[in-house]
């Protein structure tokens, strides 16, 4: 990308947004279609982030519990693992 000033963040973001519009053909859509498309995209994105948040939190907390149980009762756990 010759001639691009990457440091100029607002115009760089605008340029990225324009590229997104061109790639997904939302440049060609009528306004109400754009509203529909963007709200659908934002909803999907929100769902994805929420899923990631929940999943990561659950995974982290279960991993932490396992670690705690290892530290709390080493012998017991070692026997159960051996069996």
């Amino acid at each position: 990308m010759t001639g691009m000033d990457v440091k100029n963040t607002p115009s760089y973001l605008y340029w990225l947004f324009c590229q997104f519009e061109l790639i997904t053909c939302s440049y060609l859509m009528e306004p109400w279609e754009k509203v529909l498309f963007y709200s659908f995209n934002l909803a999907m994105l929100g769902l994805l982030l929420y899923t990631a948040y929940v999943c990561v939190a659950f995974h982290a907390s279960s991993a932490f519990q396992l670690l705690c149980s290892f530290l709390g009762n080493p012998r017991g756990n070692a026997l159960s693992v051996l069996k």
Partner: protein, 528 residues
């Protein structure tokens, strides 16, 4: 073949070409961004029939571009179905052609993909085509301003004209589309002498002395025995191929041939086989199979085998591999029909087309066909070759028998343009135009390469397709270029493969360096 140009020495020019080519090769390979360049040279390495390097590019786009293109089409298709659903259920007003209620038990008319595509994707960007112009299509032209109130279903003219739009779409390779009074002096004289209409076909009372003069001039220009001119370029192909071949003959036609050639081939009734674009191995295989197996059921020998190719292919910008085709045709005893619509006047040291570009003799090619629409600023086509061939066409061609002949002022325009090119009018203007076109082409292509765009085609062809790939970009590119006063032609699905949409620039000798620089700068801003 006498070459009356005293200014250019054939050998000197070839060396000059060769050096320039090598320089281009060097600077082309060094300055690149991360995209690997798949430069294809012709497959034969030593002892080639080519006198100079033949460089053609058909670079493949990186994978993410293909993915994005599909994403774009997927979104477009989903919204297309949504709109169709809304139209079918009456939630939206129906503007398109639909079938009448009485026809509901018949086979549906508007259900195939082409119509779906036309309704939902083409219509959204329809304002980029069929733009009416209101001046001569020179290097700059005037457009009528056109707006749409309901998203391209209907248009209306505001009454204003957009002036001095840089013209990158007209096939004005040598810049002969001009209104300069001095240049058109002879044309005005002929217009006053003959009027405009001929009102007859060639065989009845339509052969004027102007036509005889023009035909002799065309034959001298190309270096052949005789030539015949027709009023319309498309009709030259579609009406003359049926006169040359018929049932029991075999036509080997390139994949990307123009519609006129395809139509002519189909009208003739001969068997048609397609070989891959510019691919000599594919052509040779077809030739061998044709000779070994003969006609389909009877296995008799084919009456005639004819190869249909074009000089420059207008969608790809590639030049035909003529030396290899001629050697194949001589080996397998086939005939060659060369359509030089875009290449006559545009390539070659003195503008005599691909035959001169490759340094070959026009005797090698059986039927030389070309049009006057592109480089000569007129209308019509010609077929040239041996005298026997042209005499046969004068009596047997549909176009000669039924079509109106070329009108005299147009014939005079071609005569003056050709005389200018050959230097017979006493100036070197013709040669200057050819050189200018060459310089412009080289400059334009080199700059676009340096900027990192994907360009198809041969380095010497004035047709420059810039690949856009994504459907959203087709509309955006054309609209933004028009906002900045540049008129470009963008091409999408039916004319090109669905994933390879492009913007096609036609470089002209009349373009100045400033115009090309403006265009390049704006291109850079658009995508940079």
């Amino acid at each position: 073949m006498a070459n009356p140009s005293a200014v250019c020495n054939g050998h000197l020019h070839h060396h000059h070409h060769h050096q320039k080519q090598n320089n281009l090769l060097k600077c082309g390979l060094s300055k690149k961004n991360g995209i690997t360049k798949g430069m294809k040279k012709n497959g034969v390495s030593n002892g080639t029939p080519y006198k100079k390097t033949f460089i053609e590019h058909f670079e493949q786009a990186p994978m993410y571009v293909a993915v994005f293109t599909f994403v774009g089409f997927a979104v477009g298709t989903i919204f297309g179905y949504l709109r169709d659903f809304m139209r079918a259920w009456g939630l939206e007003k129906r503007n398109i052609a639909t079938e009448r209620a009485q026809q509901k038990d018949f086979v549906p008319l508007y259900q195939d993909f082409e119509n779906f595509y036309t309704r939902n994707l083409y219509l959204r960007i329809r304002d980029n085509w069929n733009r009416p112009i209101c001046s001569v299509p020179g290097p700059q032209f005037d457009l009528m301003e056109r707006v749409t109130d309901d998203y391209n279903w209907t248009f209306r003219f505001t009454g204003r004209t957009i002036k001095n739009v840089i013209n990158m779409g007209s096939y004005n390779y040598l810049g002969f589309a001009e209104t300069d009074v001095n240049a058109l002096k002879t044309v005005t004289i002929e217009l006053e002498k003959y009027g405009t209409g001929v009102c007859s076909t060639r065989q009845e009372m339509g052969t004027l002395d102007k036509h005889v003069e023009l035909e002799k001039l065309v034959a001298t220009f190309l270096g052949v025995e005789d030539a015949m001119v027709f009023g319309m370029g498309f009709a030259t192909n579609s009406m003359n191929i049926p006169a040359l071949v018929g049932k029991g003959c075999l036509i080997l036609s390139d994949e990307l041939n123009h519609t006129s050639l395809v139509l002519g081939a189909r009208l003739s009734g001969a068997t048609i086989r397609i070989f891959k674009h510019n691919n000599m191995q594919s052509l040779e295989k077809l030739l061998r199979d044709a000779i070994i197996y003969g006609q389909p059921r009877t296995h008799r020998a084919w009456r005639k085998i004819i190869i249909l190719v074009e000089g420059i292919y207008s969608m790809e910008g590639s030049i035909v591999r003529l030396p290899e085709i001629v050697s194949l045709k001589n080996k397998y005893k086939a005939y060659l029909y060369l359509d030089e619509a875009h290449s006559i006047g545009a390539v070659g040291a003195t503008g005599r087309g691909v035959v001169e570009y490759f340094g070959m003799s026009p005797d090698d090619i059986d039927v030389l066909m070309g049009t006057f629409t592109k480089s000569f600023g007129a209308a019509g086509g010609y077929i040239a070759g041996k005298k026997g061939l042209v005499d046969f066409l004068r009596t047997h061609s549909h176009s000669a028998v039924y079509a109106t002949s070329m009108c005299p002022p147009v014939a005079e325009q071609i005569i003056r343009a050709m005389k200018c090119l050959m230097g017979l009018d006493g100036t070197t203007q013709g040669l200057q135009r050819v050189r200018q076109l060459e310089k412009n082409t080289r400059y334009f292509r080199r700059k676009l390469h340096e900027m990192g765009f994907i360009i198809y085609g041969n380095d010497d062809s004035p047709v420059v397709p810039l690949l856009l790939y994504m459907p959203g970009k087709i509309g955006a590119f054309a609209r933004r270029m028009l906002e900045r006063n540049i008129g470009v032609v963008v091409v999408g699905f039916p004319a090109t493969p669905i994933t390879e949409s492009r913007a096609r620039f036609c470089v002209s000798a009349a373009h100045t360096r400033e115009m090309l620089d403006t265009l390049l700068l704006l291109n850079c801003e658009e995508f940079g």
